[in-house]
Symmetry: C2
């Protein structure tokens, strides 16, 4: 079976939205990526670090989805990474209220032996040098390395970020980050400049406005499914990435045509993620529900204009 390496945070989140607030609940990029990827029945391992305060039930929740946790280091006397944020009324912007790195401050990822020949590596948002170290541990060159990052690293570790961007195949960032990275307003021009930095594929996420996939002169776009209500956007980008990566691992087809489909799967899964707080919706998601929403996606986007 094809394998996926997921590197990223496994964390506690506390979230406040206009609809309510939570205490510490399960969160983290690798958690959301893993839950999304688990929909594809693939071999996926999470490489991360947690403290002794991390509840057994959260580990069980992930294990029960067949997510391999052999890459998760547990620091018995340490505390798990904690993020607290508050969303504004438009749900498109948020303030970070608390960031406690805790054990993440000394994270040295170790890819389990069994996964050093994985076809796909999904690098969740982390320090670029941490991401780089994972690539270097792979014994067989992966078919696809996907990178998520954010403006924080552009501000604080740009040189290191460029080192990792050079070595990856797909970068997934949001529109403002693409603009910051390239100093270009047009996303078409920004994508071209990012291509020149290394990645063959550039995914630019626009939140509720959808996502672009650029590849040379080709471009594909998937809207976000219009929802009555966005309850909590936390993890939507990671869920998108996890669906994207999971579908590619499952199919083993890394053509542009298949990456388009992976984008649709990613968008579809992300549309569920935002319906409830944290991971709640992703924990309870059936294949039938996904199938139904893929159908909605086709109705939303497909049309029949015959061109000679």
């Amino acid at each position: 079976m094809s394998k996926l390496v997921i590197v990223g945070t496994v964390a506690f989140d506390a979230i406040e939205t206009p609809f309510g607030k939570t205490d510490r609940i399960l969160g983290g990029a690798a958690t959301f990526i893993g839950l999304a990827a688990s929909q594809f029945n693939i071999d996926a391992v999470i490489v991360s670090i947690i403290g002794g305060d991390f509840p057994e039930e959260y580990l069980d929740l992930l294990s029960n989805k067949n997510i391999d946790l052999s890459g998760v280091e547990i620091v018995k006397d340490g505390k798990t990474f904690f993020w607290k944020g508050k969303y504004h009324n438009d749900m498109n912007s948020r303030d970070t209220l608390v960031t406690e790195l805790n054990v993440l401050a000394d994270f040295n990822p170790v890819v389990p032996e069994d996964y050093r020949n994985a076809e796909v590596v999904m690098l969740g948002n982390l320090h670029p040098l941490t991401q780089l170290s994972v690539i270097e541990q792979m014994e067989v060159k992966p078919k696809l390395v996907i990178l998520d990052t954010m403006n924080f690293w552009m501000n604080n570790a740009l040189e290191d970020l460029h080192k990792v961007i050079k070595k990856i195949d797909v970068i997934a960032i949001n529109d403002e980050e693409a603009r910051q990275l390239t100093k270009e307003y047009s996303l078409v021009v920004a994508a071209r400049k990012i291509h020149e930095m290394g990645p063959k594929y550039v995914v630019i996420k626009k939140g509720e406005h959808g996502a672009f996939l650029f590849h040379n002169d080709n471009v594909f776009f998937a809207p976000a499914l219009p929802l009555e209500e966005v309850f909590d956007p936390t993890g939507a980008g990671d869920t998108f990435a996890g669906g994207f990566a999971g579908y590619l691992v499952k199919t083993g087809d890394f053509s542009f045509e298949n990456l388009k489909k992976a984008i649709i799967y990613g968008s579809t899964l992300a549309s569920f993620c935002v319906e409830k707080f944290g991971t709640e919706r992703m924990e309870n998601l059936s294949g039938e529900e996904i199938h139904k929403r893929l159908h909605q996606f086709k109705q939303l986007t497909q049309f029949e204009i015959e061109l000679s």
Copy 2:
């Protein structure tokens, strides 16, 4: 041949963008709608009003595109409506610097006899009572009445606006206007509330982020074609509406499936409009160019996921 009635301004625009500025050039909603609709070789008439200062060459430009100007009243000693605006650096927002209503202040639209049985009526942005008067002049109930409006009328003539909204089939407004009209943030909920006000079809335009078409529980989405450079957004919404209306008149098919295609044609034409100042790009646009861009649109949006 099927007929289209276009009601709206024929005007002078002066535009400033980050890329340059123009003196008074040809503008106005009906102008852009007409130029877009003229691509479909249909019988289209403009119902509008201009002053004696309006250049013969602009009238010729429209006539040469087979746009019927028999509904354009010329007030010899009056001055043509003038709008001057300046776009901000992001090109998504603009300031109105000058609005001179001039002859538009006393505009009483008269639909030419020959067009009082037209299949489609496109009501460009004007006072709601002016729009209403056009509907009332139609001797045969049109197959489709399309309304464009804006926040100005929501602020200043809301009651009259509701009178006209009750009588139309398609409303085309932008996302902020939809939110203002319904006091709902979610566009899905806003669309449902607008349905309840009368229109069977609700088009919500999001500028560079594309457009939704809502019809009962169905929703279709067309992205805006990603461009290297948006030179001047003036008229893009009207061009979209003109392409939408023109395609429907041409095909005579007012089903939801065909409205989807009309949205794609509208988006395609709008993608040309923004490439040059004012009407310049729309004046010189070949069928071949449109065909090529429709092809790009399919590549941008179409994917193949088989669902049982």
